[in-house]
């Protein structure tokens, strides 16, 4: 037989096999209690306010903020671009598409971290990925981003860099004008941004 014909037959045969067999979908679905405990202990679900602020300023299209507080509270104040899924409605079917997907990075937030963390734990137990929790909740957000405290003059440089970043991000998100340059020139902006890659284990790629 001609080599090209052999190759063609070989490829089609392999193709037929792979089309016929069921797809291997062994994903880490439904975590065991131990796995969940492990994730809770390592606190991988928490995303710091700096990272979220950075993504908001950059208008990162992968960011989806989810307000898990009640509708009243959501209407009074919410972060820009956030959608409201009160925790009582968390499991309604219309929300499943938002919570169980691999496109966006959902970040739950509540006033503190308690409610948001509950939402995370429930969705995580269901095997949903890409859900995270805003560290410290809105209270900490106000403290750090919208109203940062100037560090004591004896603080190390990183503290000042962090403060500069918070201040500028706060201004940007609060509506004030801000030169993005000054924010990005600080080393701290690069650091939290590295953490924005939540798919830590997934290889980075691209050309």
């Amino acid at each position: 037989m001609k080599p090209r014909l052999i190759l063609a037959v070989f490829l089609v045969t392999l193709g037929l096999i792979i089309a016929a067999v069921p797809q291997n979908k062994t994903r880490q679905y439904k975590l065991t209690a131990i796995e969940l405990l492990d994730e809770v202990n390592t606190r991988t679900q928490f995303i710091t306010p700096e990272v979220v602020a950075d993504m908001l300023v950059k208008k990162d299209p992968t960011l989806q903020l989810i307000d898990v507080r009640s509708q009243d509270e959501f209407e009074k104040f919410s972060l820009s671009g956030a959608i409201n899924i009160p925790i009582s409605n968390l499991l309604s079917e219309s929300n499943a598409d938002i919570l169980d997907q691999e496109v966006k990075m959902n970040i739950f937030y509540s006033n503190g971290t308690l409610t948001a963390n509950e939402a995370w734990m429930i969705t995580r137990q269901l095997g949903y990925k890409n859900n995270y929790v805003l560290e410290g909740g809105l209270n900490y957000w106000f403290e750090t981003i919208l109203n940062p405290q100037k560090p004591a003059s004896t603080s190390p440089d990183e503290e000042f860099a962090k403060y500069d970043f918070r201040k500028s991000a706060g201004q940007a998100l609060g509506g004030g004008t801000i030169s993005i340059q000054s924010k990005e020139a600080t080393p701290s902006s690069a650091k939290p941004a590295i953490k924005t890659a939540p798919k830590k284990k997934k290889a980075a790629g691209g050309c």
Binding site: K2, A190, A203, G205, G206
Partner: protein, 178 residues
């Protein structure tokens, strides 16, 4: 098909199907070892980021493009998978050329155009490709080939856009090649 086998045997190059299988195995190895496909234009980006941050650190820190890069990559921009891979490509290509006796400085072009014209067109094509590869997040190897291997929707779209455009424009540039 039987007649064309003879033409293939005459070729100084590897049978394209065998070449394709070998290239596929290299790509498979890259995915198996590093969890990513091959690439090329990303290495150029790394070089530029590294050069501009060395030459003009403040100016480049202000560029949104650089921010985008530094936010996605930790460490030195040159300590990058693609940079090492492209260095390997230079070595591999050189080895192959040396074995096949193809090492020679020359400008390759159709007899209908001058070397100078060919070089100008190569520069223009390079600029377009460099720009397009950044906009499209990867070139023929990074986006189209590697993307197709992992069945990425974007990879297929980019592949079709590249080859479709090149086919559509082929008529206007035929003198350069035929």
């Amino acid at each position: 098909m039987s007649e064309s086998i003879t033409t293939i045997k005459k070729s100084k190059y590897l049978n394209p199907y065998i070449g394709g299988v070998l290239l596929g195995l290299v790509l498979l190895a890259a995915n198996f070892i590093s969890g990513r496909g091959l690439g090329a234009s990303g290495a150029i980006k790394s070089c530029i980021v590294s050069a501009s941050t060395t030459i003009a650190p403040t100016a480049s820190a202000n560029l949104a493009f650089m921010k985008e890069y530094t936010s996605a990559h930790s460490g030195s921009p040159m300590k990058n998978w693609l940079v090492f891979e492209m260095l390997g490509v230079l070595v591999g290509g050189f080895l192959s050329g040396a074995i096949a006796g193809r090492l020679k400085f020359k400008v390759e072009h159709s007899p209908k155009i001058t070397s100078k014209k060919r070089l100008i067109l190569a520069l223009a094509g390079g600029i377009l490709f460099g720009y397009g590869s950044q906009l499209g997040r990867g070139c023929t190897s990074g986006s189209a080939l590697s993307g197709m291997a992992v069945l990425s929707l974007g990879g297929f779209i980019t592949m079709m856009a590249i080859f479709g455009t090149a086919f559509a424009l082929a008529y206007f540039f035929r003198k350069n090649w035929i």
